[in-house]
């Protein structure tokens, strides 16, 4: 059985006319393998996901996202990365997720990967959804160290109402946080 948690909806934040608002947050406890932001309101114009993450396993793999629970091959993704000695480019069509970055695995102590993920016009129903991510993880040579610029798209014009963090079935360690923010367009 998958251990899933739902995001904690924003509450108690002072009302303001700011265009940048918190929507929901996950704080991992170490056992969850799935994180789904559901019932995302369509009242914003853009979404930003700010993530800090570490796997419980020792494998250091990408973390991805899927939109509206679509697990089909309806995504593309591309990356531009540096590992401290070389740069590399990669791309894939007809993928089943969009990578948003790489993070250290379990056993690397206090080291976490970080990502800032932007989705413009997420609720516009005439556009596929383009995803832009800035990611990095540094472990002072204790594990993976990499810097990545990533892009992807979900080939579906539906409004995004759910974002699932795809961890390849790995649980995420305590200290992992996925925070979703909305940016207004009016």
């Amino acid at each position: 059985m998958l251990n899933t948690i739902l995001g904690t909806l924003s509450s108690g934040v002072a009302a303001s006319t700011s265009s940048y608002e918190s929507i929901a947050t996950f704080n991992a406890t170490g056992s969850e393998t799935t994180f789904t932001f559901s019932s995302i309101p369509s009242t914003y114009q853009h979404l930003q996901l700010r993530a800090l993450f570490q796997r419980t396993t020792s494998t250091q793999l990408d973390v991805g996202i899927r939109l509206n629970s679509d697990t089909g091959s309806n995504y593309s993704q591309h990356s531009l990365s540096g590992d401290g000695s070389a740069v590399a480019a990669a791309g894939a069509a007809n993928n089943s997720y969009v990578a948003i970055g790489v993070g250290p695995g379990g056993g690397t102590g206090n080291y976490f990967g970080a990502s800032i993920v932007d989705i413009h016009d997420y609720a516009v129903t005439t556009k596929n959804k383009t995803i832009r991510s800035f990611n990095g993880a540094d472990t002072n040579n204790a594990g993976i160290s990499a810097i990545r610029l990533l892009s992807g798209a979900w080939y579906n014009t539906s409004a995004v109402n759910a974002i699932t963090i795809y961890t390849f079935g790995d649980a995420m360690n305590t200290g992992t946080t996925f925070a979703l923010y909305g940016i207004k367009g009016a």
Binding site: A14, S16, T17, S18, S19, Y20, Q45, H46, S76, H78, S79, L80, V87, A88, A89, A90, G91, A92, A93, N94, D118, I119, H120, D121, V124, T126, K127, N128, T130, I131, R132, F134, L149, L150, S151, G152, A153, Y155, T157, I183, K184, G185, A186
Partner: protein, 172 residues
């Protein structure tokens, strides 16, 4: 309490448009952020947009970038005397797919030359294509406050649905 992150203006195109202009930008913020979702009518998967400030069309711009190029499976860097920012898609990108670009323009009212940074990504459902992901550092050599931003392209126009959102960041 002053609001830190505020929408100044937006433009969502309902028809193909050559240039989008934000004018009369108030001087009351500290930094500007442009969030763009754009597709250009041109026979390419990806295409750059041009950024000009205060109507300045002279060669007062420069940039250095790093970008992804799929067919060569490489990452490249070049330097130009222009403000061309990649990240828009073109006509031969997968239908209904728009690029995503964020441009940060700090201290836009300061009496100094104007640096800027951007991160743009076109997308299409293909493993490889020219001129993909781009990070960019730019400079406008002018010490005047920025009061207008013109966003243009060298194709046949930004297509309907392209959107441009200008935000002000305040340090007050």
């Amino acid at each position: 309490m002053a609001t830190t992150y505020t929408l100044i203006s937006s433009n969502v195109l309902s028809s193909t448009t050559a240039t989008v202009t934000f004018s009369s930008i108030p001087a009351t913020y500290t930094d500007l952020v442009l969030r763009i979702s754009s597709r250009i009518s041109v026979g390419a998967i990806d295409w750059p947009l041009n950024l000009r400030f205060n109507g300045d069309t002279a060669t007062n711009y420069s940039n250095v970038n790093i970008y992804w190029s799929g067919p060569s499976s490489g990452i490249f860097s070049n330097q130009t005397s222009a403000n061309k920012i990649f990240g828009s898609t073109g006509n031969t990108a997968t239908a209904n797919t728009f690029g995503s670009i964020e441009i940060y323009i700090p201290s836009y009212t300061a009496s100094q030359n104007k640096p800027l940074g951007s991160f743009g990504v076109p997308e299409t459902n293909a493993a490889s294509f020219d001129d993909g992901i781009q990070a960019y550092a730019g400079l406008w050599r002018n010490t005047n406050a920025i009061t207008s931003i013109a966003i243009s392209q060298d194709g046949s126009g930004f297509v309907s649905g392209s959107s441009f959102y200008l935000y002000g960041i305040s340090n007050a």
